[in-house]
């Protein structure tokens, strides 16, 4: 299969002028906003609903439905919050989307604001994306000067203000209710739902929180229509998706593909195959929190439903590739240590479970593992899954469960050998 399609989100990536307002407008920018201004709120929601656009930040919830949940008769203001806290290990497509095309995000955000009658939108940017936050600030300044944001958007009399807020290094703030707490000046810990943010979100007011890539799809949907959007992708996963490929590949990078593209095409055609011509061992389809898959899953299609069928998730479509020389136990240890570090501490299964799992994995990798450690890991995996306050612990459990499911022999070998079977070979290779 060869990948031929008209790129959408990346179509202007070879033109650095679109970073500025003039270049963006020359390419048709801010026409989606004009179109939205001529429509009713309900019609904007409707076109996004019928496009089938699903949230690109991990959960895959239909964006139009999310907008439709916002009550308009509460007497409170409504808010749009842009989730640019991209922190899922292996994921960096939002970073590049903003670096190369910041106005498309602002336009999508402004359209979302119109759809729910919001006058102040907040952009939550992870702190480590300092440069990208500056790119966005400049774009915001330009958009205000040109009247695409501010008190009188494109002469419509409608107001949309944009406030940029920087995070400070906490993965959990990508979880939307934790993000809201962070934005309100609290510790970034998730909130109990219900109430859902659509009803009681930022400052206890109705709020829509959307991922960067989700919003960047919106301007084209307004200009070209829902049917056009559905021309690529699958019935249940319409459109394209940005995928990040990293780890052991020849050409790591961010690529746009129609949803439903087989992993094989992404790996071989876009990422240039496994590094050094080695053999694929394992890969995460959607960041470290999605269950890892194997070389037996090369032909799995990258979309919400196919990956669910394969026992994993599309997540953020962050593909991290491990080859035959990489130790699955070692990789799982590093991923689980991440969740232990990033656990917000609010609930016991996550706070304690990720910590204990890290200890057990570290001793297995260090050659001090025992037979009993494998059932302990299975038990931890089972007890973490769907039993914590938020989905962070499901990520921990997914690493544990999927690595045990697909590579039980490797765990057993660590116990049998009293050490990591990959360490010596790996060391020789590095020094060679």
């Amino acid at each position: 299969m060869s990948l031929r399609f008209e790129p959408r989100l990346t179509r202007d990536w070879d033109d650095p002028s679109v970073i500025g307002l003039e270049g963006y407008v020359a390419k048709g920018g801010y026409q989606g906003l004009s179109k939205a201004l001529a429509m009713t709120d309900a019609d904007i929601v409707e076109v996004v609903k019928s496009s089938g656009l699903r949230g690109r930040g991990g959960a895959g919830f239909p964006a139009g439905m999310k907008w439709g949940f916002v009550p308009r008769d509460t007497g409170k203001p409504t808010y749009v919050v842009v989730n640019f806290d991209e922190s899922e290990p292996g994921t960096c497509n939002n970073r590049e989307l903003v670096e190369r095309d910041p106005h498309r995000l602002l336009e999508g955000m402004a359209i979302a604001a119109l759809a729910i009658g919001c006058e102040t939108a907040y952009l939550y940017v992870r702190g480590e994306y300092l440069w990208q936050s500056v790119v966005l600030e400049r774009a915001i300044t330009e958009a205000y000067a040109a009247g695409h944001l501010g008190p009188d958007v494109q002469g419509s009399g409608k107001r949309i203000d944009a406030v940029l807020h920087r995070g400070a290094g906490a993965y959990i703030c990508g979880e939307e209710t934790a993000l809201l707490n962070s934005l309100e000046g609290l510790r970034g810990q998730p909130r109990l739902r219900p109430p859902f943010p659509a009803v009681e979100g930022l400052f206890a007011s109705p709020t829509v929180i959307n991922n960067v890539e989700t919003l960047m799809n919106v301007p084209d949907i307004l200009v070209r229509g829902a049917d056009w959007f559905r021309e690529l992708g699958t019935e249940k996963s319409p459109g394209t998706k940005m995928v990040t490929v990293s780890g052991k590949v020849e050409r790591p990078g961010n690529f746009e593909v129609p949803l439903g593209t087989p992993f094989r095409v992404v790996l071989e055609e876009l990422a240039g195959g496994v590094l050094g011509g080695r053999t694929l061992k394992a890969w995460t389809p959607g960041g470290s929190s999605t269950p890892m898959l194997t070389a037996g899953h090369l032909d799995v299609r990258l979309d919400y439903e196919s990956l669910a069928e394969a026992g994993s998730m599309l997540g953020t479509a962050a593909i991290m590739v491990m080859d035959e020389t990489d130790c699955v136990v070692d990789c799982a240890t590093r991923m689980v240590r991440f969740y232990a570090h990033e656990s917000c501490g609010k609930c016991t299964p996550c706070r304690e479970g990720s910590w204990w799992a890290t200890r057990v994995l570290e001793r297995l990798e260090d050659g001090q593992g025992q037979e009993a450690d494998l059932p302990i890991m299975r038990d931890l995996g089972t007890n973490l899954m769907f039993r914590a306050f938020c989905a962070l612990a499901d990520g921990t459990a997914s690493v544990i469960n999927s690595s045990l499911q697909h590579f039980p022999d490797e765990y057993e070998e660590h116990v049998r050998l009293g050490g990591c079977p990959f360490k010596v070979e790996h060391l020789e290779e590095v020094s060679a």
């Binding site: 500056v134 920087r166 400070a168 780890g247 995460t284 990489d326």
Partner: protein
């Protein structure tokens, strides 16, 4: 000692103006960045003063400050070197880069900073530059595809008073300068 006085107090006021009057507490993170830019880390004085500015307790401010890794509550070097060792970077050799960051900068494992006060080294979770792994930030400026050799050069450059050019965006010449930009107060020059 008063942290928020004179021009720093004016900066704090401009930060407070970003948020609705009824929700001043939202300003706590940028105010912590501002304090960090003035003092090189977040001191107890700063925690207390931010609490007073926002009408919340020192403990509540500390609760926020201690939650996030980018606020430093302990002594901090002039430059902060952040090395991602999460999976995408680990698979491309990040652990050796992290070791070299300690070796070259003279920061012992577990220590807050080097004896000369120049460096702090952080092991980072994913920095979102998996396409150019191993990813490193110096004062929150990106350096791509960093090898141990490159790490040695970067540290030697900083020691010699040079500011290494980042992979994207302009360079911040210290952790304090970067913290000021993180507070949203800096006119950042083009790269």
């Amino acid at each position: 000692m008063t942290v928020f006085e004179g021009p720093v107090r004016s900066d704090a006021d401009s930060i407070l103006a970003r948020y609705p009057e009824a929700h001043r507490r939202s300003a706590v993170m940028p105010l912590l960045y501002l304090a960090q830019s003035v003092e090189g880390s977040v001191t107890r004085d700063a925690l207390r003063e931010i609490g007073a500015l926002l009408g919340i307790t020192t403990a509540e401010v500390e609760g926020v400050a201690s939650f996030y890794t980018m606020f430093r509550l302990r002594p901090t070097g002039t430059h902060v070197i952040s090395v991602c060792t999460n999976l995408a970077c680990k698979l491309r050799g990040a652990e050796a880069v992290f070791e070299e960051a300690h070796e070259a900068s003279g920061v012992a494992h577990g220590a807050e900073l080097s004896d000369d006060g120049l460096f702090t080294v952080h092991e980072e979770e994913c920095l979102g530059v998996c396409d150019f792994a191993p990813a490193v930030q110096i004062n929150f400026c990106n350096h791509d595809n960093v090898t141990p050799e490159r790490m040695r050069e970067l540290v030697a450059g900083l020691r010699a008073g040079e500011v290494p050019s980042p992979a994207r965006g302009p360079a911040f010449d210290s952790f304090r300068a970067a913290s000021r930009a993180l507070a949203g107060l800096e006119e950042v020059p083009s790269a």
